[in-house]
């Protein structure tokens, strides 16, 4: 008796310690989750904080006097004259007029406020409207990137402001008078890459991504589904089938960069396909996403209950009819969900595309599957490597666009899984 009581006593005494341990263990779990979620939160706030200004542009709106004599131009329909004419001068003169206290002596400093591409825009505008020559037009141009940085980030130590004190005073003056304004950055969504951050856009990269994804989707979805059907429904139980399965499982875990090496050696060097085109990118990503799609499609096929198959077979359907008429439609939501997730992975993939040359500096928006292109994540990579902070801002903005695409794709997948998938 005494022995038992003392044992109970020992247990009771140890209880406090054991409960403390229990609480501590629980706290570790909470801390671990807090760390993970904290990292997620930091990542998002950091990127949004760095990038939201990328969605704004700084413009200069002013009355431009299109004086033919000043531009050495008397016939805007003449190609040769347009080529020779001076389109910088009217901009500089107009801006000098807008700035009180600025004169002809400051022309160099004033000129540094205007975007180098503004003269090209003026030229194109005049080409389109030859009757403007000799009149005064109110026009809006992009400001110089230095002005853009100053307007958005004055007082931020991370950014180096390249304007001198005189120019800063002018910019503030012009802002007050409404000549310099910030507005939604439509250039960012309507242009290709550029050496000038103010002019750089992601349209080229988005179109490149869409072309690449299109190739990936039309190849990987049918092939993946067909492979899954074969493996689940038709494959005999033998060594060869096992070998295929081992291959698929291993390919799912092969680092993506290896697929880049494959693309470089096979598609480009062996087949002589051109570099940096969406077709080759799509082929490489197809090989990369196939295992994911096959594995999820097989799971979807497996989840169709045998009673469906048996019922179909019972009324005389052939094996192929059972699969194509009954199993496949029922498994389709699961297959689509898996494919969307695979496509989201492919959309965010960068490394293999670097190796097949989709990392080139490309200004034009690609207009076909065999046209040099880059994709959204590679564009982020290119801009992130730039020493100019104005590009970093754009890289963050591009990341936000990329994440928006990915999150909506994943949300669609989750919605489909909830909505369409049947539980048996």
């Amino acid at each position: 008796m005494t022995d038992q009581r003392s044992q109970a006593e020992i247990v009771r005494q140890s209880l406090k310690r054991r409960y403390r341990k229990e609480r501590r263990f629980r706290a570790y779990g909470v801390i671990a989750i807090a760390i993970a979620l904290g990292a997620l939160l930091t990542l998002f706030t950091d990127i949004i904080g760095k990038g939201y200004t990328g969605f704004m542009k700084t413009t200069i709106t002013m009355d431009v006097q299109l004086d033919g004599e000043m531009m050495y131009l008397d016939d805007p329909t003449d190609e040769r004259q347009i080529k020779m004419a001076d389109f910088v001068e009217p901009l500089v003169q107009s801006l000098i007029k807008e700035i009180p206290g600025a004169s002809e002596e400051n022309r160099k400093q004033v000129r540094e406020l205007i975007n180098p591409y503004a003269s090209v825009e003026l030229r194109d505008a005049l080409k389109a409207n030859p009757e403007w020559l000799g009149t005064t037009q109110t026009m809006t141009f992009l400001s110089h990137t230095d002005v853009d940085v100053y307007v958005k980030h004055a007082g931020d130590d991370a950014y180096s402001i390249k304007l001198n004190d005189q120019q800063k005073a002018w910019v503030e003056e012009l802002q007050e008078r409404g000549v310099i304004e910030t507005s939604f950055n439509d250039v960012f969504f309507s242009g290709g890459d550029s050496r000038d951050p103010s002019k750089a856009g992601i349209l080229g990269a988005i179109v490149g991504s869409l072309l690449t994804m299109f190739v990936t989707l039309i190849l990987s979805f049918p092939i993946g589904v067909a492979a899954a059907i074969y493996l689940e429904e038709f494959a005999p139980q033998n060594k060869f089938t096992d070998f295929i399965e081992v291959n698929i499982n291993n390919l799912a875990a092969v680092p993506s960069i290896i697929f880049g090496l494959l693309g470089l050696a096979v598609f480009i060097n062996l087949f002589g396909m051109p570099r940096s085109v969406p077709v080759v990118g799509g082929l490489v990503l197809t090989l990369m996403t196939l295992p994911t799609i096959i594995i999820s499609s097989r799971a979807a096929i497996k989840s169709v209950p045998p009673s469906i198959r048996e019922a179909a077979e019972g009324i005389g359907a052939s094996k192929m009819q059972v699969v194509l008429h009954h199993v496949l439609p029922l498994a389709m939501p699961g297959m689509l969900t898996g494919s969307i997730i695979g496509m989201a992975q492919a959309l965010g993939e960068t490394a293999p595309l670097l190796l097949i040359g989709m990392v080139a500096f490309i200004v034009d928006v690609p207009d076909g599957f065999f046209d040099s292109a880059t994709v959204l994540p590679v564009q982020v990579f290119l801009w992130a490597g730039s020493p100019e902070l104005a590009f970093i801002e754009r890289a963050s903005a591009a990341i936000m666009v990329l994440l928006t695409f990915l999150i909506s794709m994943n949300a669609l997948a989750i919605w489909m899984r909830k909505r369409l998938e049947r539980r048996w």
């Binding site: 229990e22 671990a32 698929i248 680092p255 090496l261 470089l264 396909m273 670097l354």
Partner: protein, 462 residues
Amino acid sequence: MQPANLLLLTLVLAIVAYWLGYARSRSLAMPLGGIRHLKSLPFYYGARAALWSGIPALIVLGLWAAFQGKVIQLIVIGGLPDGMMPASQGEASLLLSKISNVASGALPPGFAEAPIVDAAERLKALQAQSRLLMSTLVISVAVLAGFLGWLRIRPRLNARAQVESILKWVFFACAALAILTTVGIIFSVAFETFRFFEKVPFTEFFFGSHWSPQTALRADQVASQGAFGMIPLFTGTLLISAIAMIVAVPVGLLSAIYLSEYAGKKVRGVVKPLLEMLAGIPTVVYGFFAALTVAPFISDVAASMGIEASSQSALAAGAVMGIMIIPFVSSLSDDVINAVPQAMRDGSLALGATQSETMKKVIFPAALPGIMGGILLAVSRAIGETMIVVMAAGLAANLTANPLETVTTVTVQIVTLLTGDQEFDSAKTLAAFALGAMLFLATLLLNVIALKIVRKYREQYD
């Protein structure tokens, strides 16, 4: 005709063949007294004709499109005068890009030598010829095969069986593509790796402790010979992966335990998708975060403590990579922990053990092999991760174990060696493939072992 348009045309032809086959089977059945006198439904006769027309045409199209580029290149190079024959593959690719620039109009003909301009003309002519030939061949194959298929339609023909067996072979081909991909990977890295070892001795690559792949471009240039010792890359990769695992394993494992054993349904429903979100973020975003936020932060903190830290420290890349791997570890551990039978849990709790004691003394030991398998898979992912290290780790191949210094990794070197200007047979480019081969072998080994452990463990409790 462009291959994409030709593809569409082939599909249109297949659809036409379908309708013709369908119509013919019906018209054959009419005199017999309706389609019930056919062996199969009219649909199958149509589908058979479509497959007959489409599949051979697609095969021809695929082969032609795949090999035409290389064949044209060889003919163009072969047609150059003797004096301009390229001595190496590197020169050949340089010449080719010049020729294609002239052909596309990017380089005005005045700036190139006369043979190049001639070659460009020949290139254009050959491309036009090839396109014409391909179009004729593909269309005639589609029409001819479709016609044959159409002609052979008989009421007694079992079209359904034929269509089904063709489809089965198509499905098989799709599944076998996985093997083809593996073979492609092995061959593409193996060939270049052998050629690399012809130039650089085996021992230097595996036991050399110095990595600097810059080789002299011209014979008379005074430059470093190029050193290809992979040990610094290997240790750099291991260092960064180790840091990543130190972050990811405890955090991932503990959060998996908390979510599966303690958290209520509501908490689980919110936290789990959020954790999975970490896995869905592209690696280039992590790289951006590591290079522009974490690395400067670490070097600032280190500086304020009086320690010198590189602005491209291994710690930054490793820590961010660890964050990326957290959901990977946690979801794998979650699966394994949930696979432990409820009876073991109940038994331990019934004996008076607290939940944490049950976890630590009963479930964790039972789940350990599976968790180890999961961790091995995570390690293989860390070794093969590219973008984070390309953006946040440096290029300097230091042999160090200090996480605050710059190290470089195998993947970083592959990317740097293969992006930008390259000649295809220099030791520098071949080295990238040799590194790729090592990476492939290492990850393959880890995956095979891990999958084996995970599978064996699953069988134990199934």
